[in-house]
Every structure is written in structure tokens, then in C-alpha cells.
Subunit: 350 residues, 2 copies
């Protein structure tokens, strides 16, 4: 039903090149770690859960493509692959989580014959893929309870089918509510500089028959002022132990605006997004990207004077005290998050 | 010194076409009311004070270009010109203010011979032009007092030399502080959809030697969260009797964010921006513009799916209680604004 941004094709992955949407629906083959790394860095594949899945398949491709002289060389290569994949983007933790999971399976099975090892790795990558789709469904179900027919909701970036192997994180909530027959009006922030909201979120919501209206990021406050937003749902790239979380730049501002206007603000993310090694969001690394992303429109025509100084953080950090709830596949976490997050992990989440 | 976006050339005005900056510095001649109206509607000429000046010259051009059979026909034409110019954009009040001022001079001198009437009208248009430049200097002086060397400031849209006949409203404050030897770091919000901040503000500040850094609109909150903004200065398109004001979309959100972070927030505008016929900002008409402004980048390549619904308000309304002060040519108004605005007018402002 929903578009599939990554598909395993026996000896490679086929990805949708998300940088050319909505103009073209173009598939691209990735056969090597370098190609996967480049697809992640150039945002052909993006969205925290999806780059985790890409990383998992990337690890598999790396081991498949390496002919080791001996066990030590193979392990050195596996470590190298792990490092290259994890370092391709710094903020989202799902990438590191998925690649480490693959590395763990590698280590447990490194003594097996090559074919058996590859089979285990392939099975694990598929498992990560399927688990993500399943978590999307469960997040959607938990989040949809928070919505009533007639609600207007706001989202930023693309936390949808294009960001996961299922129906998305934040958008899975809207899809599920829509399936339940609830009429929703979705406002999508365009999400400068790379316009994931304008290009991707409107595209997949329209394709799926939802009522979506595009706004520029700086219009959200006016909608809230007019009482036209009932709730905000966003994805997350990394959530610290206290509930602080990093997400696409602009998320923090929306959280402040929502608080000011008394509007509930929810992060939606699978448990692989939590990084309990970080006490607070202050420790989350925030990627700063190329100034060209801002000064040229979609990598083409300049819109600012040559050489102008630019500040281009790709993410920001939203403190937990601005968050109403965190929707996970296990349910909606409520404040105090340091307690509800701990107890979710206590219930035996991965 | 500073670029001049409108110049009177004996029988026409020469304007900078601001839609093609920063790529090209292109001048264009406007000889008729229709050309002036189109230049205003297409944002070749923009900025509340500047469209007032364009309106004044437009009125002069209209009367110059009309050969009346009799006094009644001339007056009908003058009313028609007045209406066409004022209706070209609804939100900024300076346009109506300047055109009404020209019409008033017309009415007072309608019985004079044509040459004498035109001379009076030309003199009045020049007076509006010069007064605006003078008000910019005075706003700059009053506002610069609020800044110290080393301050980082934030602005939105273009409230600069390109928006006035002088050094601007908000930007005149920065220019003046810079002239006084204060080191400033200016952050310019790019100002979607038409990118006046990215295209115009960075261009003129760089040209003038100021330290300017471009950000996307959704990055302002992060700078504030990091303690990197000392004050916010914005222009205004119309200010109601209680201090509520309309300005470029995104202004209201910045005001909320500034309040949340405890950062002073100033509107900078000449007295022609006040509309005392409106009790509050709720009565200010907010222009909604073409969806294409959002869905295609700078009128060219599509960045959103064809036919997507779009909400595109060009302005928003910032309530007075979020405003620290209003910098005018007569000084800095403080709260309660309903009182300080009344008393400014009591001192005999136009």
C-alpha cells in the first residue's frame, strides 16, 4: 500500500532517490558500503529509522563483498564497515543501533562458513526491516487514540513511509487515524533547507488520500495563533534518557510555540531511537551541513549572495519539559520521562 | 552610500527590480500607474515605506499622464488613481497614507493651472521621499542606543535600504550602530517564501560591510536556545492604536520565541506605519498570496506536488504584549503602547 523506500533485491538494495521527489520517482541500486554511505550522506535515503535499515543492509553488502584471507582480516573489515556506516551521519542513533546489531550477529557467527554467516546477516537485516514496519503499525495505533475526527494536526520534515519500512513514525499516527475513518486536516511544514515536508510529506500523504496543506515553516505560529492546530506530531532522531530529543531543525521552535499556545506536542519514535547512554539532550551531537543547502535552492540556482556566511544546523534539541508525550511502539510515554523511559526498558525492550 | 531603490527621473521613476536580486542589479522604468501598480504587486518594489513612496510617485505619474477635459474629469481620474494604487497591496498602511497625502495636495491645488498643480504634486512626492530618508536616520539613532558592541541581533525579511528611501527601519538601527563603531553580528532569517532576508538583507548588509549570517527561518529558535541572540529588530507594515502590528509572516513566531527566551523584541517603523483607526491588530487585513510562491522556488522549479493545497499568508499579526518597544523617528515607545502611541501623536506627528 504505502511506498517502499528500500527493497532487498537478492544481491543489492533498491532505494528511492528521495532528493528528486516529488518530480521523479527514481529507484537506484546500492551494491557496496560506499554506495550506501553516499546515499545516506546525500540524503537519497533519510529518516532516522530508514537510515538504520539502510545501515543494516549496508553491513550485509560489505561482508558479502569482502573476500577475507582469514578470520582476523574479516573481523578487521567488519569493524571498518561498521565504522564507515555509523559515521555517515552523526545525529540519529538508529543508524548506530542497527549497524551495531548487525555487527553483534557477525561476531556471534563469525566462525561459521561464509554462506551460513551471510544467511544469518541477511536474516538479521530483514528482521530489522520487518520489526520497523511492525513498530510503525504499533506507534500508529497508540498515537491514533490521541486524535478525534475533525482535528487539525501539524508536522515537520518527513516522519512517514519514506522514513521507515512501514507507515512512518509521526505520519503512521495520521495514517492509522485516517484508516479509522477520522477526518484529519494535516499541515505540513515545508522544512527548510531541503524541503522534506514540501517534497516528501505532502507527496506521500496526498498519494494516500489524506487532506494535507503545505505551509512555510514560519507560518506555523500564525496557524496556532488562530486556533487552527489541535496537536503537533513529530519524529525523533535520538532521545536521551530524560526525554530530551534531537529532531529536524525547527522542531524545537515548534515545541516552544505549541507550549505557548497550549497545544499538545508529541514525539513519535520506535525504541531504537532512545539512547540511554546520554543523560540529557545536551550530549546529542548536532550535525551542521553544507551552507550550499541554504544558499542554493535544491542544489541549483543561488538565492543568496556568493560567499555569505551561513549557519546550517540540520537538527535541534527539544527539551523534555516541552513534550506532552512520546509515542513508541509500546505505548505513549508520559512525564516524568526519565521514569517512563526507564520502565519501558525495564519491560524488556531491545 | 546606501543603494537607492527608487529614483525620480524627470518624467518617470527608476526602480531596482528586487525580484532578481541578488543575482542581478537591474533597474526598471515605471512611467504609468499600471506599471507602478504591477511593480508593487509583483514585489519588484516592496517594503512598507518604499511602497508608500512608489505610491506617491505613482499618483504623480497618473496625473501627469492624464489629459482632462475638465476639472470634474480630472478629479474622477485622481480618485481612480488613488484607488488603484491603494488597492495594489492591502496590509501595509504606508501606501494608503502616502497616496492619500498626494490626493490631499491634489484637492488643495486642483484649481491651479496644470503645470503648477504638477509642480506641487512633484514637490510633495519628493517631500515624502526625503522625509522617509530622514525618518530612517532618526530611527537608526534612537535604536542604536539599545545596542552594545559585541551584540548579536536577529532580523526577518528586509527592513533596510531596499525597503525605504534611506537606510531602512530595523536595518537603520544596525547601520547606525555599525557607524558608531559597535561590532554587531547580524543573523538574517531567509524569510520564506520569497526569501527577502536571503536575497536582499544579506546583500545590502554585506555591501555595507556588516557581519551578517544567513539562517533558515526555522533555525532562529535554536540560536535563541543557545543564548546567541541579544535582541530582535523587525520592521512593521501597520501598527494598530494598541501597539499590535502586522509584519512579514514569521514575525509573530519570532516574537513568541523571543519572549520565551527572555530576549528583547523591537519593532522599528516610522509614524506613517501607525493606523489609529484600528483599535487592535485583529482588524488589520492580512494579504494571502499565490500558492505558487511556496510550491515553486522563486517562480521556477516546482518543489511540491502539483495541486497540493497551500496556505500562504504574507503577513502575520504580533500582539503588543510581546513587544518590548517600538522604535520610531520620534524615539522608542514603551508599554503601555496605547498610551505612548497616543502621546506621540499628541506631540504633533503627521
Amino acid at each position: 500500500m504505502i511506498v517502499n523506500p528500500i527493497t532487498w533485491k537478492k544481491d543489492h538494495i533498491s532505494i528511492i532517490d528521495q532528493t528528486v521527489l516529488p518530480g521523479r520517482l527514481k529507484y537506484e541500486a546500492c551494491r557496496t558500503v560506499s554506495q550506501v554511505r553516499e546515499a545516506i550522506q546525500k540524503l537519497k535515503v533519510r529518516g532516522a529509522p530508514l537510515i538504520g535499515i539502510a545501515g543494516a543492509y549496508g553491513f550485509l553488502l560489505g561482508i558479502r563483498g569482502f573476500r577475507a584471507k582469514d578470520a582476523a582480516a574479516l573481523r578487521r573489515e567488519a569493524l571498518h564497515i561498521k565504522h564507515r556506516l555509523i559515521s555517515s551521519r552523526p545525529t540519529a542513533v538508529n543508524l548506530a543501533w542497527a549497524v551495531r546489531r548487525m555487527f553483534h550477529v557477525f561476531e556471534e557467527n563469525a566462525s561459521l562458513p561464509r554462506a551460513a554467516l551471510l544467511k544469518r546477516l541477511e536474516a538479521e537485516a530483514h528482521r530489522i526491516f520487518r520489526e520497523d514496519a511492525d513498530m510503525c503499525r504499533r506507534m500508529g495505533a497508540h498515537g491514533a487514540v490521541l486524535l478525534r475526527s475533525g482535528d487539525s494536526v501539524l508536522t515537520v520534515c518527513n516522519a512517514g513511509a519514506l522514513a521507515t519500512s512501514g507507515g512512518g513514525t509521526a505520519l503512521s499516527v495520521f495514517y492509522r487515524a485516517h484508516e479509522q475513518g477520522k477526518r484529519l486536516k494535516v499541515y505540513a511544514c515545508e522544512t527548510r533547507p531541503l524541503l522534506q515536508g514540501a517534497r516528501l510529506t505532502t507527496w506521500e500523504l496526498k498519494r494516500h488520500g489524506l487532506d494535507v496543506t503545505l505551509i512555510c515553516d514560519n507560518m506555523a505560529a500564525r496557524l496556532m495563533q488562530q486556533g487552527r492546530i489541535r496537536a503537533v506530531f513529530v519524529g525523533a532522531d535520538r532521545i536521551a534518557a530524560n526525554g530530551d530529543f534531537a529532531n529536524k531543525i525547527g522542531t524545537y521552535g515548534l515545541a516552544v510555540l505549541a507550549r505557548y499556545h497550549g497545544i499538545p506536542f508529541y514525539a513519535v519514535a520506535p525504541s531504537s531511537t532512545f539512547d540511554l547512554t546520554l543523560a540529557t539532550g545536551a550530549e546529542i551531537p548536532i550535525e551542521e551541513r553544507d551552507p550550499d543547502e541554504i544558499t542554493t535552492l535544491h542544489f541549483e540556482r543561488p538565492i543568496a549572495p556568493a560567499g555569505v556566511k551561513v549557519y546550517n544546523p540540520s537538527f535541534d534539541m527539544t527539551p523534555a519539559f516541552l513534550v506532552t508525550g512520546i509515542v513508541t511502539e509500546q505505548g505513549v510515554l508520559r512525564r516524568p520521562f526519565s521514569k517512563s523511559i526507564r520502565s519501558m526498558y525495564g519491560r524488556g525492550s531491545k
